[in-house]
Structures are given as C-alpha cells and as structure tokens.
C-alpha cells in the first residue's frame, strides 16, 4: 500500500478491454467533419482563393479561409501564462494564415457533412500565391537579405538569442591561463524527428448556450482553454476543454494544435458539433517536430583531462512558427554548463531561427537530447585526443554534488550521477568489454560507449509551477481523487493513486481517481510536461491527503471522544497511533459523518501548490554495438540505462518509462529523420518511410536505478518521464566510435551516412559501382 510499490496500473483493465475511451471514441453521432486546407508552397502569401469547385461539392456546409478568421495572433506553446506579455511566448500565428511559412500551412478549412465530401472539397480549394524562395537552413535564414518570416514580431529571422557566461574571465582569456592546455574544437548536428504518438491529434467541438466545449487529445487542458480564449478573443471561461484518455503525446500535445480552430468552427456554425481529425501525414508534416540543432563547441583542458573552459554556440532550426522554440535552445545550451564543470569559464549562446521547415516544438527531453549528443560526443572525442579514459574524464568533471546553477538556482539536491555510473559499469561489465573491443580489425567490429545526462524537474524558476488536487471521502470510506494533472500513458493516475493512498492511509482499491480532466470541474494544473507532475502535482496530492486526514481524524476524535493526536489512519481504519489497534473502519466513520444528526460532515480537501523548487535528475546509458562496416549497419547488442530519479513511486512503471524512452533514443540514434525536398516539401511524412523502431530493431532494453531520496520531492522523487530518451543516442554513437575509430558528428547514424564516413576513413576500400 502506498508509494514504492509496483501496483498494477489503475487504467490497465480498461485499456486491455477496450473500455478506455479516447477522444474519437466519444464523438456523438451526427458531427460535421472539418478538413484543413494546406498550402502547396513553403514560403509566400495567399493572394486569393477560388472556392467555386469546392463549394459545389455536395455536402459542403462552409469554407473558411485565412481572410475570414479573427485578426488575432496567438502563441501555441503549452507554457504557463506570463503576465508580462513581452517576456512570454511569441504570438505569431492566426487560426489560418495568409502569410505561409511552412509547406502544408493552414490556409483554409472545409466543413462538410462527411469525410468524403470534406476531403474532396479540400482538394478542390484553389489558392493563388505570391511565392518566395523557401528558406531551408538556419544559415540562409540569417543572411542579411533573407525575407523575414515574421516581421510583426521579429525584424529578422532570429527568433531568440540566449547567452550566458559563468565563471571567471572569457573562453579566449582561458587559453593563456596556464601552459600546456589542449584545445578541442568540433561541430555536431542533430536532425528533426517527430513524436509519432500512436493517436493523431483529435478533437471535436460544440456549444451549449454561449460556451464552447472542445473535447481534445491534449496533455494540457487548462492551457488549451486559455489559448482558445485568446485565439478567439473570448473570455477564457467561455471555453471548456475535456481531455479523455490520450494515445501518447511526448510533447506534441503540449502544444495547442487545432483546438482553437475547432472552437472557431463550432462558434461560427451556430454551435453545431464539428470534428477535426488530423491524419498521420498531417501530424508528421504539419504539427510539431524535435528541433534540428547545429552546434559549434570548443573546449580547453589540461593533459590529464581536467576541463578548464568550454564554449558552445547552438543554432536551432525553428521552422515556421515560434511554438516552444525560444525556450528549447536555451535549454540546450544550459545542459552544456550543468553536466560538466569547467575550472574557469563556460560560455553558451543559443540562436533560434525561423525557417520554412515544420515547426519545432516540445518533444520529450526539450532540447536536451540534442545537447547531450553535442556534449557527450565532444567529451568522448576530446578524451580520445588527449589519450585519457573517457569514463575517468567524465567522472572527474561531471555535475558536482550539491551543484547550484548560478543562473537559475536550480539545484542538485540529490545527485546520483556517480552512483549510476558505478552501478552501470558493474552491471554492464564495462571494463572488460571496453578492453576486449580495443583495436579490432575486419569488416564486423564491436564497441561500447556511454553517455551521461542530467535533467531538471519541472520548469521553476524559468516559469510558474503550480498544481491543485481535490479529494473527498465517500460514504463507504473510499477517497475520490481529482487532479488537473493529466494521464498521457506515463502512469500519472497510478502514481497519484499511490500517493493519495499513502497520504490518507487508505488502500489503493479505495482511491478512485477521475482520469478525465474537464476544465469546468477539474482542479487547475498546467499539465503533463517537463517531467513535473509526480513532483509538483505530487506535492498537491500529498498536501490534500494530509488535509483530508486531519478532517477525518478531527471527526473521529469527536466520535471516539479521544484526542485527535492519539489517532491515525492506517489500512482504511482509524487506529490508535501508538500501537495501530483499529478503532473504527473508515467505511463506518464516513457514513456516520455524512449522516450524523449532531455534526454532519463531508470530508473534503483541496490543496494548491505554488512550487518554488526544482531538483536535478541524472543518469547514464551504456551501449554495446556491432558494426557491419561494408553495410554501414549498426546492431545494438546490449543497452542499459541507469537512472537517478530519486525514490520510485512505482518501480515497475518507472522501468516502463525507461524502456520507452530508450526506444525513442534508439530511433533518434539510428533511424529517424524527417526529410524535405528543395521546396520544403516533406518526403517521409508517414510511418512507412519514416523509420520508427519496431520490435525487431532493438535488443532487450535494460533499466536500473539508484534510489537516492531527494529532499524536495513529495516522496523523495524527481524527474523521470523525459530523461530516458536523452542519453541513448550519444552512447550508441560513442560505441560506434570505439568499434570503428570513426567519430560521427551528426544523427542519425544511418547506413548511408556511415558508409560515407567509412569510405572517408579508409575502412571501406572499394565502393561497388552501380551500373
């Protein structure tokens, strides 16, 4: 009972029986069907439409174009609202956009009686454009004569530049700070990838009275409500968002995608029920992606590997709209200063730049998987140059115990990085393997590699951290639990249930969590992102449980005529605190309280948390690979993640989070990449051509933990959701380096790329000539 136990998921039964309902499963009959009309250019302006053919399609009810929507620009990032607008998100898009910035931009929308009519009419909408040359690289976007994509918010295509320098002096000055320093310079880059949650974004909307309800597959119902209100120019509470079970999100649904447009459609159509489903192809091409980032790094070290100074410049390809972009590259350069400590100085500059690629947004790890590829490739390559052991160099320089970020105050209240390395090193048989794979020859070679990471828990103090929880006790002594925090597959409902059981003193079977968030009913929460919920929303559960417990014990004291201080709740009973002897079951007490003629009481508690803490999670990946050099094919033989996420609320579910993240990291390392042609058209926006890992593409995934109790977590816990996806890619890359001696400087390590690198390195002597 309570935390630290691998209870079964509270939603598992419904998910294996088909009883769990997702957005599309709840759609009432008779809905009108909306279909977004997408631009056939990546950069330009819509001049006019010819709608005659589209309107002639039988069953078409309405067509709205970019000339029909409110002249309101809004921001879509799933961030807490910022009262000082200029410091918050970037308001750079309308419901439909006349100024086209992405191939497939939303320029019009058709509403029809069924799918066939909507799709047909959408195809027949003719748009005439003023077309500009697509801007498909950060370098081109920053050219002095590049067309600014968002002149209303930025004079050039530079969306954000964030910068820091910590320590003494400058990187340049550090060069001469002592004799015999060795310098290392390199450039690394990562590709755009997509979340590929199995359920595409779905929503439907209708009106009751003058209020709009949107049922949506989102991670952030309360934020979606606010943004819908902003986008339509309506008071926020005129909007009601309902979030049922969702088929994964991974950050894509931490963005407000099509809910405002869906709300607009029902609003304009007299409150009629309208559904707006986004296809897989639209999801991949036109929602959000993980940013492709290019980094230039420099480092100075003593010959023994002691880091003296480092510098990173990162250039992030934002794509057409700001979304989360301004904060993600800042996160990227921040990791660089946190994960390793420089003796003198660390400098970071992050540039986020608008282009005509798909819009970059939040994705599991939020800029840190990119950063980790840069910093862990750099560390490995530098160690090789210095001739020092890369693990020793890591351990000598990594995140100090008691680290406090000088910029934000984010602290490693607990820090198990070194313990993770020690544990993984033994479990993985690292020393023996590392030695065995030295100096291999032949066409098939093996190697091992590792990569560290660290990750913060939630967004404080960069952004607001708040959460609410409501509980009441039913007449049978069970507890109803209402959260604003969302279940998105990660197991949030289960761990909140465990926390409530622990905090109140009841069994999990007697906790009934409401999985669906309805913003008319659910307590306020910001939602599932930043690996925050178990930490921040968990604080709210713990506090509400304590308040509920106090109320129950106060009533029990009244009925039992004993001081409340001598009472406790354990295992669904009020007991004598000193020896645990039961006095009365909660079932008997609660029904008595509800119907007591002298003192009737519904035990009820609500807690509101304003969290002013943030703590750092850490961990490591160890990977063992076999490389078929002529084929450029990497096979992962063995992979292990060791995590320092504090106390595990549910170890079995924690393991599941790690497995899923590792798989995502493997896809990032070897297979996944969104490709575009010279016009900015997506080339592989489907699950056949975009290589998501299948069960055959990876070995068994091993997860281990170091459970240090974090003093700030409600139950000693800290971030776990995102971290597993961070370090697999650089660990795999470093394993390929040991196997082949080839330092690949970009992701993914696809066969095409590896063959090129192996030819260059002389590992492949003859390239077959194709006739």
């Amino acid at each position: 009972m309570g935390v630290r136990e691998s209870i079964k998921r509270v939603d598992a039964y419904d998910k294996v029986t088909g009883a769990a309902k997702y957005t599309a499963d709840l759609l009432p009959t008779g809905a009108l069907v909306a279909k977004v009309v997408r631009s056939k250019i990546a950069n330009g302006r819509v001049l006019r439409f010819d709608l005659d053919a589209a309107k002639a399609v039988k069953g078409v009810m309405a067509i709205f174009t970019c000339f029909d929507v409110p002249d309101i620009e809004f921001a879509t990032a799933g961030h807490p609202y910022v009262l000082e607008k200029e410091k918050g998100d970037v308001y750079d898009r309308k419901l439909l956009n006349e100024r086209v910035r992405v191939y497939g931009d939303d320029i019009a929308v058709v509403v029809a009686v069924d799918e066939v009519a909507a799709a047909r009419a959408a195809r027949l909408v003719k748009a005439e454009y003023e077309e500009y040359a697509p801007i498909l690289s950060v370098a081109d976007a920053l050219l002095p004569d590049a067309t600014p994509l968002h002149p209303s918010v930025r004079p050039t295509n530079l969306l954000t530049h964030s910068s820091y320098r910590v320590g003494q002096g400058t990187y340049e000055e550090a060069k001469t700070s002592e004799p015999d320093l060795v310098e290392f310079e390199a450039e690394y880059s990562t590709q755009a990838v997509q979340h590929c949650h199995l359920e595409p974004p779905q929503s439907y909307a209708y009106m009751e009275g003058d209020r709009i309800t949107v049922v949506s597959s989102t991670q952030i119902p309360h934020i979606v409500r606010r943004v819908c209100g902003q986008a339509l120019g309506l008071p926020w509470a005129k909007i009601r968002i309902i979030k049922p079970y969702i088929g994964g999100g991974f950050g894509n649904k931490q963005d407000v995608l099509y809910e405002p447009l869906n709300a607009f459609l029902t609003w304009k159509l007299g409150g009629k029920l309208v559904k707006l489903e986004i296809t897989r192809e639209e999801t991949m091409a036109c929602t959000r992606v993980r940013h492709a980032i290019h980094a230039k790094v420099k480092a100075l070290a003593r010959k023994d590997g002691t880091l003296i100074a480092r510098k990173i410049e990162a250039y992030s390809d934002q794509g057409g709209y700001a979304s989360h972009g301004h904060s993600i590259c800042a996160n990227t350069v921040t990791l660089f200063k946190q994960i390793y400590h420089d003796h003198l100085v660390t400098e970071g500059d992050g540039y986020t730049v608008y282009t005509n690629h798909a819009t970059g947004g939040a994705m599991r790890g939020y800029g840190i998987p990119q950063a980790d590829f840069f910093v862990e490739s750099m560390l490995e390559d530098f160690a090789r140059k210095l001739g020092v052991d890369p693990m020793a160099m890591r351990l000598a320089n990594c995140l100090p115990v008691g680290y406090v970020d000088p910029g934000t105050g984010i602290s490693a209240y607990s820090n198990g990085m070194r313990e993770c390395v020690a544990k993984g090193r033994a479990l993985f048989d690292w020393d023996e393997k590392r030695k065995r794979y030295e100096n291999q020859t032949g066409d098939t070679r093996r190697g091992v590699g590792m990569a560290l990471f660290n990750y913060k828990t939630g967004v404080y103090p960069i952004s607001l951290e708040t959460a609410n929880c409501r509980m009441f006790m039913n007449e049978d002594g069970s507890v109803s639990l209402q959260m604003g925090a969302t279940e998105i597959g990660q197991g949030a409902d289960t761990v909140f249930t465990q926390m409530a059981a622990e905090s109140v003193g009841v069994s999990e079977a007697n906790v009934h969590i409401v999985s669906t968030q309805d913003t008319d009913v659910a307590p306020f929460d910001l939602g599932a992102y930043a690996s925050r919920q178990t930490y921040v929303s968990g604080m709210a559960v713990k506090r509400a449980g304590e308040l509920l417990r106090d109320k129950v014990l106060d009533f029990a004291a009244f009925r039992l005529k004993k001081p409340a201080a001598e009472l406790d709740i354990r295992a669904d009973h009020v007991v004598r605190k000193s020896n645990g002897n039961p006095y009365v079951s909660l079932a008997d007490l609660a029904v008595d309280a509800q119907y007591n003629r002298e003192r009737a009481e519904r035990f009820f508690a609500e807690a509101s948390i304003d969290c002013h803490e943030n703590t750092i999670s850490t961990g490591v990946t160890f990977a063992e690979v076999e490389v078929d050099i002529p084929l450029g094919k990497v096979t992962i033989l063995n992979i292990l993640n060791v995590h320092d996420s504090g106390v595990l609320i549910n170890p079995k579910l924690a393991e599941g989070q790690v497995h899923g993240g590792m798989s995502m990291g493997i896809g990032y390392a070897l297979f996944e990449e969104l490709l575009y042609d010279e016009k900015g058209r997506p080339l592989n926006d489907n699950l056949l051509d975009y290589k998501l890992p299948t069960a055959m593409d990876q070995p068994d995934l091993h997860a281990a933990f170091v459970e240090l109790e974090d003093p700030t977590g409600p139950y000693g816990n800290k971030a776990l959701g995102e971290p597993p996806a961070i370090s697999p890619a650089p660990a795999i890359r470093n394993a390929v380096l040991q196997a082949t001696g080839v330092a690949v400087d970009s992701l993914p390590l696809s066969p095409q790329k590896l063959v090129e690198y192996f030819v260059k390195a002389g590992l492949i002597k003859e390239v077959a000539q194709h006739v």
């Binding site: 691998s6 079964k8 998921r9 939603d11 598992a12 039964y13 419904d14 998910k15 294996v16 029986t17 088909g18 769990a20 309902k21 997702y22 599309a24 499963d25 066939v116 979340h195 590929c196 949650h197 199995l198 359920e199 595409p200 079970y245 969702i246 088929g247 994964g248 991974f250 296809t279 897989r280 998105i488 597959g489 990660q490 197991g491 079995k652 579910l653 393991e655 599941g656 497995h659 899923g660 993240g661 590792m662 798989s663 995502m664 489907n686 699950l687 056949l688 998501l692 890992p693 299948t694 069960a695 055959m696 990876q698 068994d700 995934l701």
Partner: protein, 161 residues
C-alpha cells in the same frame, strides 16, 4: 452504394447496411460502437486497428467491410468470458505493465490472440518478428514481449503443439 453486410462479430451475428467504400475499422467503430479498434494511420502502417477475421489478424483500416461478408470478426471487446473474466492474454498485459497510453494495446492483443492460438512455442526473437507490424511509442516493446512470452509459454504448457 449501400449493401447489407452479414457477419459474426464477437460471437453474435449482425446484419447492417454499409457503404461499399467503407473500411472495416469504420464499420466496427461507427456502426457497431467497437471503439477498441483504433485508427493510428489508416493506411496499414501502425497496426492499431488489428482485428481477427476468421482467426487471422488483419489491419481493418485497409480491409473493406464488404469483404467481411459471412466471416467471423473478433475484437478486444469480444475477449472476456461470458461471465466477465479476462482472457489470460489481457491479464498478462496487465500483470506485465504492457500497456501505457493504451492506444496500440487492443491491436497488439488481437495479434497475440492469433499467435497464442497456434499453441506453438515461440522464442523472444520470433515474437519480435510476429509483432513487428505493430508500432508502439511508449513501451519500447519490452513489457509487451514479456507479456507475450509469458502467455505463449503458459499456453504451450497447457495445449502445446
């Protein structure tokens, strides 16, 4: 355009009008309310819409409803026993935490029913291949393979072929 389709769905015979152009996933979801059959791609890439047709796992998004005439269809809704007990495969998915967001789960369970139904013993590597038509972004397939390995083994011990 509309035809009357007669088929057996989860043990009961149904006779319903369907559009000739309709895919089985839409018939099952929209006309019969069997919403466990999920739509993840609608082009046979992800496996979320997998159901059994005469015992064989198919992607119902690329299977025309009219092809189901006279056939037996099984979805996850039809797996529980008449008295409501879970199928051992469903129980194994619960016990091994093989469901996270749950969107791919009904489809994979239906493939598992086909695989387990052979009564054969499969290695973990063979199971990887057998479920490779299903995409899952949450689990890394690890817990799914654990559940399948367990149920395949248990079944083999009982009815082994």
């Amino acid at each position: 355009m509309f035809k009357t389709l007669t088929m057996t769905v989860n043990g009961a015979e149904v006779s319903i009008p369907v559009d000739e152009r309709e895919s089985l996933v839409d018939t099952l979801r929209n006309r019969l309310g069997l919403t466990s059959v999920k739509k993840g791609c609608e082009v046979g890439e992800c496996g979320a819409c997998t159901v059994l047709v005469d015992g064989e796992a198919i992607d119902s998004c690329i299977y025309l409803s009219v092809w189901a005439e006279g056939r037996r269809i099984l979805t996850v809704e039809g797996l529980k026993s008449p008295t409501g007990e879970l199928d051992p495969i469903q129980q194994a998915f619960i016990d091994e935490a093989a469901t996270q967001c749950g969107f791919c789960t009904p489809g994979i369970i239906m493939s598992a029913v086909e695989i387990v139904g052979t009564g054969k013993r499969y290695s973990r590597e063979e199971l990887r291949k057998l479920i490779s038509g299903h995409l899952c972004r949450c689990t890394g397939y690890e817990s799914i393979l654990n559940a399948m390995e367990r149920i395949v083994e248990e079944t083999y011990k009982r009815v082994g072929k």
